[in-house]
Symmetry: C2
Subunit: 175 residues, 2 copies
DNA sequence: AGCAATTAATCAGGGCACTGAGTATTTCAG
DNA sequence: CTGAAATACTCAGTGCCCTGATTAATTGCT
């Protein structure tokens, strides 16, 4: 009776989307290298010698997960990790030959997979798809890290913001 | 040089979207009950007495994860798990009073959170958002499980039902 | 009836994701 | 210059997510 329709819950959809992607990735791209691992390789192809924290920032992995992922990639011999002589807290990351080769190989497959994954959408819809998800994700990230301090009360996380939202009478997820 | 733009990779976007949702959920909904757990509660409000497998099917959780989630919810006293007297392999699931109360409380907060989460999109864009994600996720799921034969046509059980895929010529991320 | 699939659930194991605590190193303030 | 604060990384603990193997119960086939 009081149950809601999960198909109108963005979190539920996001989870299903990611699961679907995970499965297709395993089939079409690699069973060894995961999508987050590929993101790390990709970042280091563009900018060799970054430290872990910065790579994590680029691809959206937190410090702990980053640590694990780097360990795995290092274990597979895809990257080297050396202490920064300038700053002994940092580790600088650089792909090995094998890492570069692996990235190149997976890039091709990833492109193919993306086509299959997005095949149900027209070209225009694909752009919309990217755009909408990006906007929602970016906005939610802003909520956490105020980024540019826009000079607002820092204490409104627990409260109910969004005074503009509740306009449409029949809200979609009410009991 | 050969690096790709991750913002055109649906998998990367899906991951970022889910992470953003996870964080907001923790702040605005609950630190105890997760979004997948809520999905299970929600299903059992609508259909008490389902077995684990069916609930997992409804919310998109595989048998293993389902087992863990059920254990946690049971440990918190939110649901009861009893063996099906008709079929001793199954466990039938039913919310406790506390489970129902928890679901009701979280339903309100979840609705608020969804509004905040989707606030960057207009009403029309929100519909698009749901629609596009749903279509992609559904299609990807079809790729794995050939769905159910709507007739009893006996000669297409093992056949591959999806001859579509590579259609539009101008691929955005070609090898 | 009796034995071979099939099915529901669990377990083992690998990986992603977060928080909070701990370690080492650098920076900064007095 | 020296002790406090900040920073980079690691570790412990929890939870989600998948596959493949295992266990227990049911169904199906002869």
């Amino acid at each position: 009776m009081a149950a809601v329709d999960l198909s109108t819950h963005p979190g539920h959809l996001a989870r299903r989307l990611q699961q679907a992607h995970y499965l297709l990735w395993n089939v079409m791209v690699s069973e060894e290298i995961t999508s987050p691992q590929f993101a790390v390789l990709n970042t280091l192809v563009a900018e060799p010698g970054l430290d872990q924290r910065t790579v994590g920032e680029r691809v959206g992995l937190d410090r702990s997960t980053m640590s694990e992922v780097i360990t795995r990639l290092g274990r597979r011999g895809l990257l080297d990790k050396v202490r920064d002589p300038q700053d002994g807290r940092r580790f600088l990351l650089r792909l090995t030959e094998d890492g570069v080769r692996t990235h190149r190989r997976l890039t091709v497959r990833t492109a193919r997979m993306n086509q299959v994954f997005l095949a149900p959408l027209s070209e225009g819809e694909q752009s919309q798809f990217f755009e909408l998800i990006r906007r929602v994700a970016d906005a939610a990230e802003e909520l956490r890290s105020p980024a540019e301090p826009l000079r607002q009360d820092p204490d409104r996380l627990g409260a109910a913001p969004a005074p503009d939202v509740a306009r449409h009478g029949g809200d979609p997820v009410t009991s």
